[in-house]
């Protein structure tokens, strides 16, 4: 098992899938000559040539739509969205077209496409460049949504996404690209729709994904030491389809839940997780489910404000204590 970065893991997934299947190609801004704005596509242009690694003009709607068109006639495009904030411009192609063509054509045209790029906050990029998009896309039937937290899952899920015959929204994390971790050798594939127990514990369940998995694990460690609370951290990995069963198994054991995500809270993925749990495990809950989300504001630029908006381990620690009815530092 090699230890590589999340970025390298994505690069390997792209390269291996492009090697394996010559219908797979990458299209987006700066993916070629520049090796990707975040260097995820490093070296691919050189090895695969410009038809398979296509630098585009700044035209998110246009090149996303080209991806949809190519997918309709049998190619398997990977569309790099430099950051998900720019995908607002392609919302129509993703939601009105990629997601709906299979249905509208009565099952004739499935759309095997991946839209991928970093989502959420990086560091001090301010309101227009710090948005988490997964809740919008996960609302849309026809799309699948993945958001891996580790290099192993980054590689394994991206390979699955590329092989999947449906459109997949693939949300990476700029703050994760440099993260290192073990990645199994060989053709490592993580199935879509299966959550992972990232940390086992009996007292409280944290349901989370992406960057917040690490925030949650760090909170869990604090809680183990300071409070003797053993937290089970469920990394959803895939948001749609949501692996409710893995979540429920944990909740039935712990009876207490905190949902952690960096998105703004209103009608975010966390709200759906709460809904699923209360519906299917109502009698197992010993306390209301708590949510830790990004604050309900457009992301401010200033460092100190950003830190308050973006969930920190301390906030998660507080929330866990809260659902355990322990003293905690914040007054309700």
């Amino acid at each position: 098992m090699a230890v590589i970065t999340y970025r390298e893991a994505l690069n390997q997934a792209l390269r291996e899938e492009m090697d394996r299947d010559d219908r797979v190609f990458l299209i987006g801004e700066e993916v070629g000559v520049y090796d990707g704005a975040y260097k995820v596509s490093k070296g691919l242009l050189e090895d695969f040539g410009e038809w398979r690694v296509r630098d585009t003009p700044i035209a998110e709607h246009g090149f996303s739509g080209m991806g949809v068109g190519a997918a309709m006639v049998g190619l398997r495009p990977v569309v790099e969205i430099m950051t998900w904030n720019f995908a607002h411009l392609a919302f129509d192609q993703i939601v009105n077209h990629a997601a709906k063509l299979y249905e509208m054509s009565g099952g004739q045209f499935n759309i095997p496409i991946v839209f991928r790029g970093p989502g959420g906050a990086a560091l001090q990029l301010a309101a227009q460049h710090s948005q988490a998009p997964e809740q919008w896309y996960a609302n849309v039937p026809g799309l699948k949504v993945c958001s891996p937290a580790t290099p192993a899952d980054a590689k394994g899920l991206l390979k699955s996404a590329i092989r999947d015959n449906d459109p997949v929204i693939f949300v990476e994390g700029e703050r994760l690209y440099n993260m290192k971790g073990e990645v199994p050798d060989g053709d490592h594939v993580t199935p879509i729709g299966v959550a992972d127990v990232a940390r086992a514990g009996d007292d409280v369940t944290i349901v989370t994904y992406s960057k917040m998995v690490h925030t949650s694990i760090s909170a869990a460690e604090t809680l183990a030491v300071e409070d003797g609370i053993e937290v089970e951290v469920i990394d959803l990995r895939t948001i749609r389809p949501l692996d409710v069963d893995t979540v429920l198994d944990s909740v039935r054991k712990t009876n207490r839940v905190v949902v952690v995500e960096e998105a703004t809270p209103f009608a975010a993925v966390g709200a759906q997780v709460v809904d699923d749990i209360q519906r299917e495990a109502f009698d197992y809950l010993d306390a209301p489910i708590a949510r830790v989300s990004g604050l309900d504001v457009p992301m401010p630029y200033a460092r100190n404000l950003e830190k308050l908006v973006f969930p920190q381990p301390e906030f998660v620690v507080d929330a866990v204590r809260h659902v355990c009815y322990r003293n905690h530092s914040v007054v309700e």
Partner: protein, 353 residues
């Protein structure tokens, strides 16, 4: 500057039929007739409540689709807007199955899931039937990209209304198609109105074809869309450019819709006068082509009547087929959401219903 903008095409008298055989010419007329009679029948069925939703008829524009699609090869691709019953028929979809789609029936070309705006036929390389103005233009560019990716010599025909020339997707598509030399024919059916808006009220361009000037490598031509021969002629040039040179063309084809934007809309009133519509009806593309064929001795009046009657019969039979087709089965509700497994059950959240 954009490559070679030609002025309005006029097919010279010497070669007014472009070397097509009599049979081919009659086939074009037949297709126009079928398109017309089909739409008339659809209007009737709509009024009877058998068709739901929006229903955009093509009456008046038949020469465009017939002239253009007849220049395609079987393995070429095409993609259209929501106003595309005629395109579907001409491309070869079964009229009964097209009508069944309008009726929302199981035998519809999209299984009743798409409706009037969303006709698809994978076996005919017919990529829809799209409802968002302008958004299928990038999709067409993607098809062109795929053709070049595979080193194919196909062409992709993309038809759309003139109101689409002011939306961003138009610009993004044209730039990429021209820059990467994609074999796409972008055919704008300029019927002068987008719903109730006359195109010049919202467009800073005297001629729509002028939109090509900013894209080096985009060929362009303005064509009389009431003359099926002119459309066919221009289309042949555009297809040759795409197939041989891998370069895109923008065709502005001038036409007119005799009816309202959709069946629910009046054909005239606020945004255009009855007189205007009546004057335009004088140029009926079917009548004028019929006349030309008769004048040239290609067609007899009797033959025309046969063609017309056959078209009426086709439309009637289509409606009858649609009427007899069952509604889609509710059990297939989740069948066309995902092609692959959806772990955990797509219907799980709905299941308690």
């Amino acid at each position: 500057m954009a490559t070679s903008e030609r002025e309005v095409t006029e097919v010279g008298d010497e070669n007014q039929f472009l070397g097509l055989s009599d049979a081919e010419l009659k086939e074009l007329l037949r297709e126009m007739e079928v398109a017309r009679r089909f739409e008339e029948k659809a209007a009737e069925s709509y009024q009877m409540g058998k068709i739901g939703g929006f229903c955009h008829l093509y009456i008046g524009q038949e020469a465009v689709a017939v002239g253009a699609i007849s220049a395609l090869r079987d393995d070429d691709y095409m993609i259209a807007s929501y106003r595309s019953h005629a395109h579907a028929l001409i491309r070869g979809m079964d009229p009964g199955r097209v009508m069944a789609e309008l009726y929302g029936r199981a035998d519809g070309v999209s299984g009743g899931h798409g409706g009037s705006m969303h006709l698809f036929a994978k076996d005919l390389n017919f990529l829809g039937g799209h409802g968002i103005v302008g958004s299928h233009l990038p999709i067409a560019a993607g098809v062109g990209y795929a053709i070049r990716y595979r080193d194919g010599d196909q062409v992709c025909l993309c038809t759309f209304g003139e109101a689409a020339v002011n939306i961003g997707a138009f610009h993004e598509s044209f730039n990429m198609a021209a820059r990467w030399k994609l074999p796409v024919v972008y055919l704008c059916e300029n019927n002068m109105y987008g719903m109730g808006t006359a195109i010049d009220r919202v467009t800073a361009a005297e001629r729509i074809v002028q939109r090509a000037c900013t894209y080096d490598g985009m060929h362009s031509e303005q064509v009389d869309g009431m003359d099926v021969m002119a459309v066919r002629d221009a289309m042949e040039r555009a297809v040759a450019i795409a197939r041989d040179k891998k370069e895109p063309t923008f065709l502005e084809v001038n036409t007119y819709r005799y009816v309202g934007h959709s069946i629910a809309d009046p054909s005239h009133g606020v945004y255009r006068t009855r007189e205007e519509v009546e004057a335009e009806r004088e140029n009926d593309p079917i009548i004028s082509f019929r006349r030309r064929l008769i004048d040239a001795g290609v067609l007899s009046a009797e033959e025309y009547d046969e063609i017309d009657q056959a078209a009426i019969d086709t439309a009637e039979a289509a409606a009858e087929f649609a009427d007899n087709s069952p509604l889609p089965d509710a059990s297939e509700m989740y069948d066309f959401v995902y092609a692959d497994e959806y772990r955990n059950g797509i219907d799980r959240r709905d299941a308690w219903r």
